[in-house]
């Protein structure tokens, strides 16, 4: 990997198929023509003022862009010395950043004359967003979802069905996100003539990593403008959770070529990387190919994919977008794991201090940023961290209630025992280690 050159826009303008040694197209030949068609359509659309205007109009009038940038003073005060701002992608229509990419790709699908959208989903956010776009644009929609996730996210399954989508539970393998992607790919191989596979993250074969990033870079661009308007300067760090990595890439993109802005991606540490039960592909650092891209991949000695684990369905993926692998390898961005326990402590803290219920995915970024603020200590005074609050937590209320043992029959159930502070760490299955970073 070459040392950072002095070119401007070095990272920002990076196009696929390769990001350093990562990316590419590790895909069956049957899909290559479709990928070529997507790429060509995307490149033409980017140059088409009408397309750009339509993307902008939908963002403004349907999604609700620009999303807010909110300073969270009470949360920041508990976390450490730094000031903390949240980029409020949770306020988007459908409740997460996913809608940005989905509307863009659905427009491309129409441009290609496709009448059917298929998608994979983990937490259900991308599935809901895809079902929403399909309803808005009058297209058929099938969403593949691991059967483990349909159980964890029953509310989102109902939402997708209300929106007219067919939800197909996937019972193979680990029954989570990666298996849903396998099944969506199998569908696409057979249906590519009239179907667009609306991949939900910056992973997969070229051009998906580059294209999905492009539809999300509005997050970083808005954030940059907003913080400059509010504070007259760039943040010291930006932080986001990373599963496949789309919300992180969208935010990072606004600051990739500002070396003074540190970029932090927080992976799902599950029970702790040392336990093997996690979803921290970058932290583990083994290169491999899965779902069309070379990237970091959780795999065993034979190259079989290892099942990932996370309390958040949306981060429960054993690989990561290839551009993140590249940013990790070049050192431009830093990636660290956040355990389930750390994440849930920050989840509770944001609810209590700010009146905002975050998605459990996004709570990983909250925890990582809080850790960063603590680590800075006195030097963090006056520094600014911006966190991408990529989704809201409505879908996670049951999981959180179970975690904090608030469900009927659990010890914190009834009206008794109201005070929150004591709850946080105590009942967690594993106490939060200060940091789970291994290497």
């Amino acid at each position: 990997m070459s040392a950072p050159a002095e070119e401007t826009q070095k990272y920002r303008d990076h196009e696929g198929p390769y990001f350093g040694s990562f990316g590419g197209r590790w895909m069956p030949e049957s899909l290559v023509a479709a990928l070529d068609e997507v790429e060509q359509t995307f490149r033409e659309a980017k140059q088409d003022p009408e397309f750009l205007a339509e993307v902008h109009r939908l963002g403004r009038d349907y999604t609700g862009r620009p999303s807010l940038l909110t300073e969270v003073k009470r949360f920041a005060a508990e976390a450490g010395p730094a000031r903390i701002f949240l980029k409020r992608e949770d306020l988007n229509h459908t409740g997460s950043h996913k809608i940005n990419n989905v509307l863009g790709q659905a427009l491309l699908a129409k441009r290609m004359g496709k009448t059917r959208l298929i998608a994979e989903t983990g937490a259900g956010q991308h599935g809901v967003a895809t079902a929403t776009a399909a309803a808005l644009m009058g297209m058929d929609c099938v969403v593949y979802m691991g059967s483990e996730d349909t159980r964890r996210q029953a509310l989102n399954v109902a939402r997708m069905r209300l929106l007219g989508a067919e939800v197909v539970p996937v019972d193979h393998g680990a029954k989570t996100l990666k298996d849903a992607i396998n099944e969506a790919l199998r569908d696409w191989v057979a249906s590519v003539e009239h179907t667009h596979y609306l991949l939900g993250t910056v992973a997969g074969p070229h051009p998906f990593p580059e294209m999905v990033r492009w539809f999300h870079q509005v997050i970083g661009d808005e954030t940059r403008e907003q913080i400059l308007a509010m504070e007259g300067r760039l943040p010291d760090a930006v932080a986001a959770c990373v599963g496949g990595g789309s919300n992180a890439m969208g935010l990072f993109h606004g600051f990739l070529d500002d070396p003074e802005v540190a970029l932090y991606g927080f992976e799902a540490g599950g029970d702790g990387v040392e336990t093997g039960r996690h979803a921290s592909a970058i932290t583990l650092g083994r290169s491999g190919v899965l779902h069309g891209a070379r990237s970091f991949l959780m795999q065993d000695e034979d190259g079989q994919t290892v099942d990932s684990h996370s309390i958040s369905a949306g981060l429960d993926y054993p690989s990561v977008g290839p551009e993140h692998a590249y940013l990790a390898e070049t050192g431009r961005a830093t990636y660290e794991p956040v355990t389930d326990a750390e994440c849930m402590a920050s989840f509770e803290m944001l609810c209590r201090t700010e009146g905002i219920i975050p998605a459990i995915e996004s709570a990983h970024a909250l925890a990582g940023a809080a850790r960063l603020s603590r680590k800075w200590g006195a030097e963090g005074e006056g520094k600014i961290i911006i966190i991408n609050l990529s989704g809201r937590g409505d879908k996670d209320v049951e999981t959180a209630a179970e975690w904090f043992r608030m469900l009927p029959g659990q010890e914190n159930d009834p009206v008794a025992e109201t005070e929150t502070a004591a709850k946080t760490g105590d009942e967690s299955p594993s106490p939060a280690p200060e940091t789970g970073v291994q290497a």
Partner: protein, 278 residues
């Protein structure tokens, strides 16, 4: 891309010497028939039975045997093969078993023995080491369903060094430029995907199959074999009229699942039109 759309004359692909798969297909051609290529997963339902079943393939007329390597994320496989390979993985299958199975089948038969593997399994071991061990086991080469020539630099070099065949797939949707690239990268034969879809038995052979074969021939392919959805003697005869080889997988795996090696023997004999096996 260095390839061009103009159909290359067959002579550009000079006969490649030392290709075990090519020899097996040419031997069938000399008998006035298309080669029969049978697929079975390594280690299904257990190592010994999978070896016995593969030997039955050869005894009943298979010219080339594909040993499928179980993989956690088989995106090109339909439910029957997925279920079989998932079972194999669940019982603790490890990769080196493949080389033992290949060696045992090579030892017991005259068929060319290929492995069919998703690429990450090669990548993790290292293309060079995988090729070395496959060659050492007597394997003819590998079919790599999720590897396109664009990404195959390391694999091409390793197979070249070890004299192994590398079989790439060409699809009904492949452009003439891509077909040319696939044909020139392949060694042994070119795998023509007959339908847009995953593995699995189908009632009818798609009419795309013949177009796929013709496109590959126009690009200079000497041997094109057709697979996906082939499950009856009628399919085999139909495809055999225009292709150099016919590939059957799912139907054989289902036979092995339901009736063991003897069912594989019977089905293979039926599909190949062999008098009687054993």
């Amino acid at each position: 891309m260095s390839t061009e759309a103009t159909p290359a004359e067959p002579s550009t692909q000079a006969p490649k010497t030392g290709s075990k798969t090519a020899e097996a297909i040419e031997a069938a051609r000399a008998q006035g028939r298309a080669a029969f290529i049978g697929y079975l997963p390594a280690g299904y339902p257990d190592k010994e039975t999978s070896i016995a079943a593969a030997i039955e393939l050869a005894r009943n007329g298979a010219d080339v045997i594909e040993i499928g390597v179980p993989y956690s994320d088989p995106v090109m496989d339909g439910p029957v093969i997925q279920q079989a390979t998932t079972e194999v993985l669940a019982r603790g299958f490890r990769l080196p078993e493949v080389f033992e199975i290949v060696a045992a089948v090579v030892e017991a038969t005259d068929a060319a023995v290929l492995v069919m593997t998703y690429y990450n399994l090669i990548d993790r071991m290292g293309a060079e080491e995988f090729a070395r061990r496959l060659a050492e086991a007597g394997g003819a080469g590998a079919i790599t369903p999720d590897l396109i020539p664009d990404e195959a630099g390391a694999w091409m070099a390793a197979t070249e060094r070890h004299g192994l065949d590398r079989v790439f797939l060409t699809a009904p949707t492949s452009s003439p430029e891509r077909v040319a690239q696939i044909v020139s990268a392949s060694r042994g034969f070119v795998y023509g995907v007959s339908v847009m879809g995953v593995t699995g038995a189908r009632d009818q052979v798609s009419d795309a199959a013949e177009r796929v074969v013709n496109a590959a021939r126009s690009a200079g392919a000497e041997r094109v074999c057709v697979g996906l959805g082939v499950s009856t003697r009628a399919h085999v005869e139909e495809i055999g009229r225009y292709a150099d080889g016919v590939i059957v997988g799912t139907a054989l795996v289902a036979a092995l699942r339901d009736g063991g090696p003897s069912a594989v023997a019977a089905l293979t004999a039926e599909l190949t039109g062999a008098e009687t096996g054993r």
